[in-house]
């Protein structure tokens, strides 16, 4: 394509040719134009120096809109492009591709956010918003004048991925990535795979056995030649970037040799709370959470093992944890760190105070321990009446609910609790036909395929429904001694015209929501962000729903937010597709936003080297020049993060971060500060 | 692909074929087109001088309001009619002056 070559040549030597800027103000389908008067912005910008064309369009990101820009580049010889539109995080890449298609270097384009930071926050002040748009665009123009063509840094990418979390999402993601010929290391913190799903007994809407499904996955993963599974392991250090993350994984000793394992398991006497049963029961410190778990070798609960020897065959065996450190290099990281069930506050609905109050996950474990056909006994009483309270730790309202330690309330819906508690109610009905069941809910959210049917079945199974309002929660109280039932639930029932209804019960079940797993350390290491709900945050729910803002890190499953198993599987597979697309080629491109030394100005003061905190990013080197020895700073782009610590300290202003230069900022400040005669004139 | 000896039909033949195949739909559409044209003319006539609302136009030409609105939506889209302010809760429509 001769046109493209010509344009590229032109762009390659911008100093020698005139700057021709195209300025594009997007209506964003009304999002911007409802507040900012885009035509006025275009008019004002059109009168500024170097601007060849200033246009508006309902949406420049559409195919037709992009075509306009391409056409301008090719036909009007535009060599700098400024676009005012939505946040750069959304469509900067879209337009980089557009200008590239038209033959222009992608870094000769600058994106100005006038939606999130203008029209959406100033809708009460259209005049102010319009003026602001003009100034921001003028600043963009000022920067654009100083842009230079750049090439991305191309690096080889490690064709391997790390999956953190060995629950259903992690396993699915690992398998899907491995299917694409990419090595996978799966790291699971606990000594066993399976995650939360293994703790369930039956899953909706198919009533399948979760552990059977899990085992199908685990078997495949364990047998796959490209998957390495590390249980009892945690990521303890991270460096690098997409394509080349360097990680340190610390793995606890399993503690048991294959031969001795069974004997040790049998001989062990020390006990600890069984967290597989949510602390309702106790188990040995040498343990298997459930028969058929993977790996099948028992593990040692290092947290609770007190170090005393265990007598086996007359020998005293002392178990020792010798953590092993693995160094890994991977191209991408999948976060499948899962969730924790919400732990109700002491006293919330009587939890922790009244022994008849348990959580739904606890109830599931309780039921798992009652043999089929036998009655349900709790605290020595046969259970006749059960109340299940929905939305515990979900849909909380600020000012109504007591905040948690971090001052926040969980104002999100946890998505699965409605169906899960109805599904459990059905299980109760099936096994204990005489039980009276009460569901206390705000809205029944059986949204999924086959879920409404579960609601219908629960109704047909004579489950009683009582509906409370978020602001007026039910109350749980211990019944006075001698009462027929140990506890009492009071609810203002909106279905019964707001009358208060009292339900005497033997068991109160709190359908608790989901909270993200405690992964603060990991979040800090990876520098990834979390949303207001504390779950990990995707870039954009529709544009890049499984990717995080840090390139090369993707999300799978409930680490991102509440999901059921089916949804977790989908999300995990979607994450795997992103990893496969990213690493399939074996190389990645990084933006060229790294420090660059102006050789003509640098005289080797070394201030930059002192200021730099990134290893191997900048160093002084000695050159021979015209017979003289000169010392100058030299940047190693792959190690430079582009923070600019070197820029501010250089007395000669000889170093800059490419595409983010100090001169550009000064020009932008000038543009923001100046009066805009052109704008004023255009108004006349 | 097709055999070499059968010549592709000429453009004229193809057009004739098209006309024959679609004779009935063309006839039906022509009836529709004539109705549309006369309705469009009477609407445009009404709002050439002063802008009017949908119910006003509908009452004047004796057509249901929703039909009139649909016509105006089309005329607006193709730049024949523009909105010209409001009359209470109803927008006013006016014919664009011909150049």
């Amino acid at each position: 394509m001769p046109d493209k070559q010509k344009a590229a040549r032109k762009a390659a030597s911008p100093d020698k040719e005139e700057v021709r800027v195209g300025v594009y103000t997007c209506h964003c389908g009304g999002n911007i134009s409802h507040v900012v008067q885009c035509e006025r912005v275009a008019k004002a910008l059109g009168k500024m120096p170097d601007v060849v064309v200033a246009r508006t369009d309902p949406s420049f990101c559409s195919d037709a809109g992009q075509a306009i820009i391409e056409q301008d580049i090719q036909e009007l010889g535009i060599n700098r492009v400024v676009i005012g539109a939505c946040a750069p995080s959304l469509h900067e890449q879209t337009f980089r591709n557009t200008v590239t298609r038209a033959g222009l270097n992608p870094y000769l384009y600058h994106h100005v956010g006038i939606r999130e930071q203008d029209s959406w926050v100033h809708d009460g002040d259209p005049e102010g918003a319009t003026e602001k748009a003009v100034r921001l665009m003028a600043a963009g123009l000022a920067k654009a004048r100083l842009l230079t063509p750049l090439e991305p840094i191309r690096l080889g990418a490690e064709k391997g991925a790390l999956v953190i979390g060995g629950g259903v999402a992690g396993l699915r993601a690992a398998l899907d990535i491995a299917h694409q010929g990419i090595r996978v290391t799966l790291v699971e913190k606990s000594p066993f795979l399976g995650g939360r799903m293994a703790q369930l007994e039956s899953i909706f809407p198919t009533d399948e056995e979760p552990r059977q499904l899990l085992h199908a996955l685990i078997e495949q993963a364990a047998a796959h030649p490209s998957i390495t599974i590390l249980t009892g392991a945690e990521v303890t250090a991270v460096s690098g970037y997409v394509g080349n993350f360097n990680l340190q994984v610390t793995q606890h000793e399993r503690g048991l040799s294959e031969e001795l394992a069974e004997a040790l398991l049998a001989a062990c006497e020390q006990e600890a709370p069984d967290n597989f049963n949510y602390g309702l029961t106790r188990r040995k410190v040498v343990y298997r959470p459930y028969p058929g778990c993977y790996p099948s070798t028992p593990a040692v609960d290092w947290e609770h093992y007190d170090g005393r020897p265990i007598q086996v065959d007359g020998k005293a065996v002392v178990l020792k944890d010798k953590p092993q450190v693995h160094a890994l290099t991977v191209g991408a990281i999948v976060l499948a760190t899962g969730f924790n069930p919400y732990e109700p506050r002491q006293g919330e609905y009587g939890y922790g105070e009244i022994t008849e109050v348990v959580t739904l996950p606890q109830l599931i474990r309780i039921l798992a321990q009652v043999p089929q056909g036998e009655p349900l006994i709790w605290n020595g009483h046969p259970v006749r009446d059960v109340a299940l309270i929905h939305c515990v730790g979900s849909r909380e309202i600020e000012g109504v609910h007591t905040p948690q330690d971090d001052g926040q309330v969980n104002n999100y819906c946890s998505r699965v609790c409605c169906t899960a508690s109805l599904h459990t109610a059905l299980e109760l009905r099936r096994r204990f036909p005489e039980i009276n069941l009460y569901e206390l809910y705000q809205d029944i959210r059986t949204y999924g395929r086959g879920h409404e049917e579960i609601y219908n079945q629960a109704q047909s199974a004579m489950v009683h429904f009582l509906r409370y309002r978020g602001e007026k929660q039910p109350e749980v109280a211990a019944a006075p001694p001698g009462d027929t039932h140990p506890a009492l639930v009071r609810v203002v029932d909106t279905l019964t015209y707001g009358e208060e209804i009292e339900v005497p019960v033997d068991l109160v079940v709190l359908a608790v929501g989901m909270m993200p797993s405690p992964i603060d350390a990991l979040v800090d290491m990876l520098k990834v962000s979390r949303g207001n709900d504390r779950f990990l945050l995707e870039v954009h729910p529709k544009l890049r729903p499984v990717e995080m803002a840090v390139r090369g890190i993707v999300l799978a499953g409930t680490a991102q937010g509440p999901m059921n198993i089916q949804e977790s599987l989908s999300a995990a597979s979607a994450a795997a597709a992103k990893v496969a697309a990213l690493l399939g080629q074996g190389r990645v491109e990084l933006p060229p936003f790294v420090a660059r030394v102006d050789e003509s100005k640098c005289d080797g003061t070394g201030a930059c080297v002192e200021a730099c905190q990134e290893e191997g990013a900048i160093a002084l080197q000695t050159f021979q020049e015209n017979g003289h020895e000169v010392r100058r700073a030299v940047v190693t782009p792959a190690n430079c993060t582009g923070c600019g610590a070197c820029v501010g300290v250089c007395p000669k202003r000889a170093i800059d971060v490419q595409a983010w230069t100090l001169a550009q900022y000064e020009a932008m400040v000038d543009a923001l500060a100046m009066d805009i005669p052109a704008f004023a004139e255009a108004e006349k | 692909m097709s055999e070499a000896k059968t010549n592709p039909p000429s453009r004229g033949e193809l057009l004739k074929q098209l006309r024959e195949e679609h004779a009935s739909s063309v006839e039906r559409t022509q009836v529709l087109f004539r109705e549309q044209r006369s309705l469009q003319q009477s609407i445009c006539q009404m709002i050439r001088e002063t802008p009017k609302t949908v119910p006003e136009i509908a009452a004047a030409i004796g057509k249901p309001s929703h039909e009139v609105l649909w016509f105006l939506a089309g005329l607006r889209k193709y730049g024949i009619v523009v909105e010209a302010g409001m009359c209470g809760d109803y927008p006013l429509y006016q014919k664009v002056e011909e150049k």
């Binding site: 219908n456 109704q459 047909s460 004579m462 009683h464 509906r467 279905l495 019964t496 | -």
Partner: protein, 381 residues
């Protein structure tokens, strides 16, 4: 809920309280937001609240609620069941409850009463005149009339006590209202008017938008009112004017005795056949879940009518024995119908319904009255 199911309710548990039934109902009001008001009380097991409700009686089962229910919860049928349940509640003897919840009890009692009638006649009948029809000789009119009066008295006793229970539960128990006696008198016309015209039912039809449905509903109402008129007339005639009616005189055709009798018989025949036909075909919403009690009453009534016609025909034909036999059968079905069905069975709605409307009106005007008096005494500000 289980109890109501014994009374024939279906699908109450399916109701998720969306309110569709109440909103579609042409008769429901803010004071009586049924069917849901009834369903909800049943769902949460508030028996005491339910037995104080007039709501079930205010429904005529047009079936719109059931037809449009998004969950197939059959609110109309629940209302029907609630009426049966209430009949059982009002009845202090406990018989009504037995009849509704046990088919064996109901049929057994009917057979028992029928048998009793046959036995009584067997022992006490007069001479059989076989040359000509002398019914009054076979069944001396004084005795029959006396039995008639005894029966009517018993009936009245049961009805009155049950009605009082109804009054106590639905009106007196509501302490929030003080009802001046004058209001009972003032609103009394509602009782008569509704008993006579079923005017309330006709609103079911008048609110209907769909013309076909409207016609169906209007026809249903018409059929019902014809049936009631025929029944009422017949009842009146045989209780109060039996000597005039049961006679061996053959009146000329233009005599009121003849044409009143024919009218009543005609509409009864038409009405019961239609009712049974509808139940068999299940063409209406209201006929899709027929409870045994819904069948038995029209069957009895039809049998009464048919045996009456037969007996009448035989008499005119001058066949003495068939006349006497059919007369016995006629009485044997009439008696249980009246004794059992009227105070304890389906036919109780004949008086509970107008009474409920009457109480509703009384309560409403009492409420209005209370409001106006408090307003009158409210200090002006």
């Amino acid at each position: 809920m289980h109890e109501l199911k014994e009374y024939g309710a279906v699908g109450i548990e399916k109701c998720f309280n969306c309110g569709n039934c109440t909103a579609i109902c042409p008769l429901a009001s803010d004071e009586y937001p049924f069917p849901r008001s009834v369903i909800r009380r049943i769902q949460v097991g508030q028996e005491d609240r339910l037995e104080q409700q007039l709501d079930p009686w205010l429904c005529y089962y047009c079936g719109d609620c059931s037809a449009t229910c998004p969950k197939g919860a059959e609110p109309g049928e629940t209302m029907m069941a609630a009426r049966r349940w209430l009949t059982g509640r009002y009845d202090w003897t406990g018989l009504a409850r037995k009849f509704y919840t046990s088919l064996a009890w109901e049929i057994g009692s009917i057979l028992l009463v029928a048998l009793a009638v046959v036995v009584i006649i067997l022992f006490f009948h007069g001479p059989l005149v076989t040359e000509r029809v002398e019914l009054n000789t076979f069944a001396p009119i004084e005795i029959v009339h006396l039995a008639d009066w005894i029966m009517a008295g018993t009936l009245l006793f049961f009805i009155a006590t049950n009605v009082f229970r109804m009054y106590w539960l639905t009106v007196l128990k509501d302490r929030s209202l003080k009802i001046p006696l004058s209001l009972y008198v003032k609103e009394a016309w509602h009782l008569l008017f509704n008993a006579a015209t079923q005017a309330r039912w006709s609103t079911c039809a008048s609110d209907e938008q769909d013309p076909i449905e409207k016609r169906r509903k209007r026809n249903a109402w018409l059929t019902h009112i014809l049936l009631v008129s025929g029944y009422g007339l017949m009842f009146f005639i045989i209780v109060f004017m039996l000597p005039w009616f049961q006679t061996d005189n053959i009146y000329p055709v233009h005599n009121p005795q003849r044409w009143l009798g024919y009218y009543a018989t005609g509409v009864l025949l038409y009405g019961t056949v239609r009712a049974l036909w509808g139940r068999a075909k299940k063409e209406f919403q209201m006929h899709r879940f027929s409870h045994p009690s819904d069948w038995i009453f029209p069957i009895l009534l039809l049998s009464v009518t048919l045996t009456g016609i037969l007996q009448h025909t035989f008499r005119y034909l001058g066949w003495p024995l068939p006349t006497y036999y059919t007369y016995v059968v006629h009485l044997a079905v009439t008696a249980p119908m009246l004794i059992l069905e009227v105070p304890f069975g389906k036919w109780a709605h004949l008086y509970y319904r107008p009474l409920a409307i009457y109480f509703e009106k009384v309560k409403a005007s009492a409420r209005k009255h209370a409001l106006s008096t408090t307003e009158a005494f409210a200090p002006a500000d």
